[in-house]
């Protein structure tokens, strides 16, 4: 009744109702491990995340575990929740989050961190790990941003570094022992450090000298000095759910998703995921087809997305697409391929699947000139791009989105002009088609994002452009594109990218900044309506830290980095070499054309089968 009263006051109540098809309803029993999978953003965003679906069903398939979902309530809901003193509650049984045993936050982007604190607070929990005792849930975190866990280290009890699906069951078993023997949280944390990829931040202590980070020392003998990521060796044998919770409320992605491989062989030098999720591990065509079949039966979805970092690189793509078309064309089920490369093979595949459903096309040349594409090791040239675009127009597409990044290392004005020139050539290619093929004006969108240097990439030592420089570049491009009627130009906010850069390479001192920013009201920072740059800068100042020293610094190779005690399996020397090659515009071949000795092969024997 109480929650019903709140739901009648908010804009999109279906965000909070739960009970979706395939959501899990379990009887609540004594001795059960109550797990809250927490996505620190609004429901529509969280429900579009594949990792949630994997872990939700993995945990719920365990008999004595009940995993429920938690999302950040939108501000209208938060207001009425706080007014009525309603704590954050689970989607399924509406249990107050503070009553759960474990809450697991997923770290998908840095700008969601303030929501983690806000959600803990809404649950009635102290936000700092040191202020929580054995009566509180254990707070864990994982996901891509967990590779540099330091900016959230003071708030969480445990961080999962790397893949989690094969170690979560072991973690749960250890937790059960802890719960039945009622050991202290401290003893529990000591008992889990032997599980691969488990990082307990409170067992590590960063050292600074004159305000400069010097290194991290362990303060418990159980804590490994270098924490290696956990890795699922064989994706084909690894867990993948045969159903999906089907979201309400206009989720960003609302379709069947199967992960065809993890990792990437391309080696783009700016790409965090491409580095930390090495090596490539594929799921076999038969396994994927089998999973698709079950998900379609259990959901009734009309679209299947074959997910990965670069789906054109899936070795069985041609076979798989033919197989899926054969099975589902008659049922009008479409296939969507996110992250397509600009090559002729991808266009052939596209031609096959577009007979069912036609969606907008997105290409990511990433940079405007060949020189810059070589710097980032993108490995495509203008000929590839133009041929693909011409092909797409010929097949009937007229809506094309082009993604670029600006502020990349070594960028000059020519590289910015290159973005404009390339986009213009795309428009021209459309008009070069015979008139009868052109149904209407082409719609070309150029989307520019700001380069953010990320930990564990070859560019981790590089500096980011200052916000004012980005603003200047935006203005410059905007002026160029203004005269092009067929092209719509958009770009990301400079100040958001700046804070993202601070946090992506941040150290543990940023916990204080994050806390201050949250106290002053920061939340939903990835939503432009809510991002409050002034508050963040003020919080940095109050902590005595200079944001430029984080975002714009260029580090020496010998200098200690705040994430050096974490290992993503790739060697620091490899990353440094790659950065040097970038400066010279030298390419590194795709892993499939020859091993480039990134370190995975020696650090994880048998994992790399490229």
């Amino acid at each position: 009744m109480q929650i019903d009263y709140l739901l009648k006051q908010v804009e999109k109540p279906s965000r909070y109702i739960g009970g979706e098809v395939n959501s899990v309803n379990k009887e609540i029993r004594q001795g059960q491990v109550r797990f809250g999978f927490a996505f620190p953003d609004v429901y529509e965003v969280g429900m579009s995340f594949m990792g949630l679906q994997i872990l939700y069903f993995l945990l719920n398939d365990m008999e004595d575990v009940y995993c429920e979902r938690l999302f950040a309530p939108w501000t209208d809901m938060e207001k009425v929740m706080r007014e009525s003193e309603t704590p954050l509650f689970t989607m399924e049984s509406r249990t107050p989050a503070g009553e759960l045993d474990i809450i697991g936050f997923t770290l998908q982007y840095e700008m969601s961190y303030s929501n983690i604190l806000n959600m803990m607070d809404l649950a009635g929990l102290p936000v700092f790990a040191k202020d929580r005792d054995d009566s509180h849930p254990v707070i864990i975190a994982g996901g891509p941003c967990a590779f540099n866990p330091e900016p959230i280290a003071d708030f969480v009890d445990v961080v999962f570094i790397g893949d989690a699906e094969d170690i979560l069951p072991e973690f749960i078993e250890r937790f059960k022992i802890h719960k039945s023997e009622t050991t202290t949280k401290y003893d529990f944390l000591k008992s889990i450090t032997d599980i691969p990829g488990i990082y307990v931040p409170s067992f590590y202590d960063p050292v600074y000298k004159d305000g400069i980070y010097m290194g991290t020392k362990t303060i418990e003998k159980e804590a490994p000095p270098v924490l290696k990521k956990n890795m699922v060796m064989d994706l084909d044998k690894s867990y993948f759910p045969d159903r999906q919770v089907m979201p309400y409320a206009d989720a960003v992605h609302d379709r069947a998703v199967v992960e065809v491989f993890r990792g990437c062989t391309r080696g783009c030098r700016f790409c965090h995921a491409g580095m930390v999720y090495r090596p490539v591990r594929e799921r076999s065509v038969d396994t994927v087809a089998e999973i698709v079949d079950k998900i379609i039966k259990n959901t009734g979805y009309e679209e299947i997305s074959l997910a990965s970092l670069s789906t054109s690189d899936y070795s069985g793509l041609g076979t798989l697409v033919e197989k899926l078309l054969g099975s589902y064309e008659a049922e009008r089920i479409g296939i969507s391929l996110p992250s397509l490369r600009l090559d002729s093979f991808s266009m052939e595949i596209l031609q096959r699947i577009q007979t069912v459903r036609k969606t907008g096309l997105t290409f990511a040349p990433e940079a405007g000139t060949q020189r810059m594409r070589d710097v980032i090791n993108k490995g495509i040239d203008e000929k590839d791009l133009m041929e693909s675009v011409e092909n797409a127009f010929d097949l009937g597409w007229d809506t094309v989105k082009l993604y670029f990044m600006i502020g990349l290392p070594t960028e000059t004005k020519e590289d910015l002009d290159g973005i404009y020139d390339l986009a213009k050539k795309v428009v021209e290619a459309y008009y070069e088609m015979p008139k009868e093929k052109r149904r209407r004006k082409p719609r070309i969108t150029v989307s520019v994002s700001n380069f953010v240097p990320k930990a564990f990439t070859p560019f981790q030592w590089e500096g980011q452009d200052e916000p004012s420089v980005f603003n200047e570049k935006h203005r410059y491009l905007n002026k160029l594109f203004k005269r092009e009627k067929a092209i719509s130009f958009n770009y990301h906010d400079s100040e958001t990218s700046f804070m993202e850069s601070v946090f992506s390479r941040g150290d543990r001192r940023l916990c204080d900044v994050l806390h201050r920013a949250w106290v002053s009201g920061c939340k939903f920072d990835s939503w432009s309506d809510y991002f409050d740059y002034g508050k963040w800068i003020k919080a940095m100042g109050e902590s005595g830290l200079d944001p430029l020293a984080y975002a714009n610094r260029i580090s020496e190779y010998g200098q200690a980095l705040p994430w050096d005690h974490i290992s993503a399996g790739i060697d620091k020397e490899f990353l440094a070499d790659e950065n040097e090659k970038a400066k010279k515009g030298q390419l590194t071949p795709d892993c499939r054309q020859g091993c480039c000795n990134c370190g995975i092969l020696t650090n994880y024997r048998g994992a790399c089968n490229v």
């Binding site: 009648k8 109540p13 279906s14 109702i17 009970g19 409320a249 206009d250 009734g300 979805y301 459903r357």
Partner: protein, 239 residues
């Protein structure tokens, strides 16, 4: 081609689903149970289905209607049974049957909607207040301002859109009122709007977020009085 018409209910948490969400829920449930759906033409084919004036977000209902077209006849009993295990909790098909493929659309048949409104008052309710309420419902006027599509504000007497009323119950500061109101494209009165008008007329303070609305049924105008849409689905199995 065959057209199936079903009456269904929405209760509990699913009452917060908007119409577009409801369309998806049905579309995918139809696909899961594997009935031979008839699709629209074009690049984004959708199953052919239509609803009769879906009740507002937040209202419970035992009087919702949907038409869906299939390419082969299916057994209605089996269809309802399968759908009820495929739909999310709170959505339930009650009764269904075939209608002529050329029959009037559900939407165009709606003239009245019957509601049960359960609302609180900030004052003690006695026989006098109930008599006052019934007097207003009986003879009006219930003035209200309504913004037209062109943005003009017009004065309306809501009494014109009330076609029946009955006080079902009153206790613990709550009144349960049953009303038959104009509904559909030819005139429509939302029960929450009626409550607002009643509140202004009587001076009662009614918290709109503490109102439970149940839609009981939809009706067509007919010679012998309002005719439930369910009457159009009585010829059960397909020919």
């Amino acid at each position: 081609m065959y057209r199936i018409r079903v009456r269904y209910e929405k209760k509990g948490r699913v009452k917060y689903l908007g119409h577009l969400e409801m369309i998806k829920v049905f579309e995918r449930a139809f696909r899961r149970i594997g009935i031979p759906l008839k699709y629209t033409e074009g690049f984004n084919p959708h199953p052919k289905m239509s609803f009769a004036l879906p009740s507002s977000v937040g209202f419970s209902s035992i009087g919702e209607y949907i038409d869906v077209e299939v390419t082969e006849a299916v057994r209605i009993g089996k269809f309802i049974e399968k759908m009820n295990s495929a739909l999310p909790g709170g959505l339930k098909l009650i009764v269904g049957g075939y209608v002529d493929a050329k029959a009037k659309s559900l939407m165009s048949m709606v003239d009245y909607s019957e509601f049960e409104i359960d609302f609180p008052l900030d004052a003690e309710i006695d026989m006098d207040s109930i008599m006052e309420l019934e007097k207003i419902l009986e003879s009006g006027p219930i003035p209200a301002r309504k913004r037209t599509k062109s943005g003009k504000i017009v004065e309306k007497n809501l009494k014109e859109d009330i076609h029946g009323y009955e006080t079902v119950n009153f206790k613990n500061n709550r009144i349960v009122l049953k009303v038959l109101l104009s509904a559909g494209s030819r005139g429509n009165l939302n029960p929450l709007f009626l409550l607002k008008g009643l509140g202004e007329k009587t001076g009662w303070n009614i918290d709109p977020h503490n109102v439970d609305v149940l839609r009981i049924d939809l009706f067509s105008k007919a010679e012998g009085g309002p005719l439930s849409l369910e009457e159009t689905v009585s010829e059960v199995e397909a020919k």
